[in-house]
């Protein structure tokens, strides 16, 4: 079974709840190596997405993704805004005008999202960023592409969790954390953590 615009909107609402629940955790992670605003910024962005969806859910999954993208770009002040905004924008472009997204399209959208984030942030794997969550998320999703949307998302969330954990041992090379160099080793990257939280929320919503 595929994912409709309504289904995607519901997933975004769940994601907003998860981000709100983990707001303090993300702030704490960011305080250790950044400027302590990741949780606040993301919470503000997702609250705005919920408000926009309350005003009306767009017709297609692609349009929902685009709404999420433009809202995040406009409402999130830090790096997460343009990065997540680009991710949803590129995913939206991949989804075309399909009324329902199947597992294969979802994997393609995830790949486009990763490529967009990398192009925007110029980060590669191992830089201790959200890319370190997205790369294993995509490869896990590819492995599950034959299954349902929920299976693809569950696999992606698992990959993102493992990827986020891997940032603990990395020396950050992008963003504010890069100024800390070796001192940032031992800290979980807040962007990788929020990516894992979002994919987990999407996977739960898709069940």
């Amino acid at each position: 079974m595929g994912c409709s615009a309504e289904g995607f909107a519901a997933a975004l609402r769940s994601a907003a709840e998860v981000i709100a629940e983990h707001r303090a955790e993300l702030v704490d992670l960011d305080r250790a190596i950044g400027d302590a605003d990741h949780g606040e910024n993301l919470n503000r962005g997702f609250a705005a997405i919920v408000a926009a969806l309350d005003a009306g859910v767009p017709q297609t999954p692609a349009a929902v993704a685009k709404l999420a993208a433009t809202t995040l770009i406009s409402k999130v002040g830090g790096a997460a805004g343009p990065l997540y905004g680009t991710a949803f924008l590129r995913a939206s472009a991949k989804l075309g005008d399909a009324a329902e997204v199947d597992a294969g399209q979802l994997v393609e959208a995830l790949r486009a999202a990763l490529e967009g984030v990398q192009a925007r942030g110029k980060a590669v794997g191992g830089d201790a960023t959200m890319v370190d969550a997205l790369i294993p998320a995509l490869s896990a999703a590819e492995g599950a592409a034959g299954g349902s949307v929920a299976e693809v998302l569950t696999a992606a969330a698992g990959g993102a969790d493992r990827g986020a954990e891997s940032t603990v041992d990395l020396v950050p090379r992008k963003g504010r954390a890069s100024y800390l160099g070796e001192r940032a080793v031992g800290h979980l990257d807040p962007g990788a953590r929020s990516t894992a939280l979002l994919l987990r929320a999407f996977a739960e919503a898709a069940r």
């Binding site: 605003d37 910024n41 770009i73 406009s74 002040g77 830090g78 790096a79 997460a80 805004g81 343009p82 990065l83 905004g85 680009t86 925007r120 942030g121 992008k174 963003g175 504010r176």
Partner: protein
Amino acid sequence: MTVGIVLVSHSAKLAEGLAELAAQMAPEVRIAAAGGLSGDGGLGTDYDEVVAATQRADSGDGVVLLYDLGSAQMTAELAVESLADPSAAVVVDAPLVEGAVAAAVAAQSGADRKAVGEAAASAGLAPDLAAVDAPAEEGVEEKELTLNNDVGLHARPAAVLVRSLASFEAEVSVRLGEQEADGHSVLALMSLGARQGDRIVVRARGAQAAAAIAKITELVNTNFGE
């Protein structure tokens, strides 16, 4: 018309202060500040503000965007991609303060968008100062002048000098003691640190060398209009 400049910063104060500074040297250039978040005035970069600033800065000759830190670059690039004509604007990797000054002066001199961007980007390099050793060459005009204005070759006078040279076909350098600066670079001129009372040697080469020297003499003698 001139190329417009947008300053993207996490801080509204930083962007506005820098716009004020750069505008002093480039009165006819549209310099738009896009700093901070529009809603609560907090720190951050605001995509909608950057898009609006880019539109305000564009008088038809294009826009150069400069940024302070990480996400400001991403926001600026997203804003450019979203324009009806993305080729009208370019995001330049440059030190924000020096780059803004160099870009503003280049724009004021009538440089095109590419040249304005290059002026900003090269502002991060070491100033173009060379130790003087070569003897005076053939066809080179040279004149010694004393700076009488209050601030010497500080930012605004240096900018006035660079701007006034834009219309002459001449390569000009300015020497103070052992050091020589490219007369077409505000930052190099400022790096000389020439103060009130200092004697500078202006050297020009090219078809209008004499006219360029005469213009600089006039500027120095009128204290750069201070």
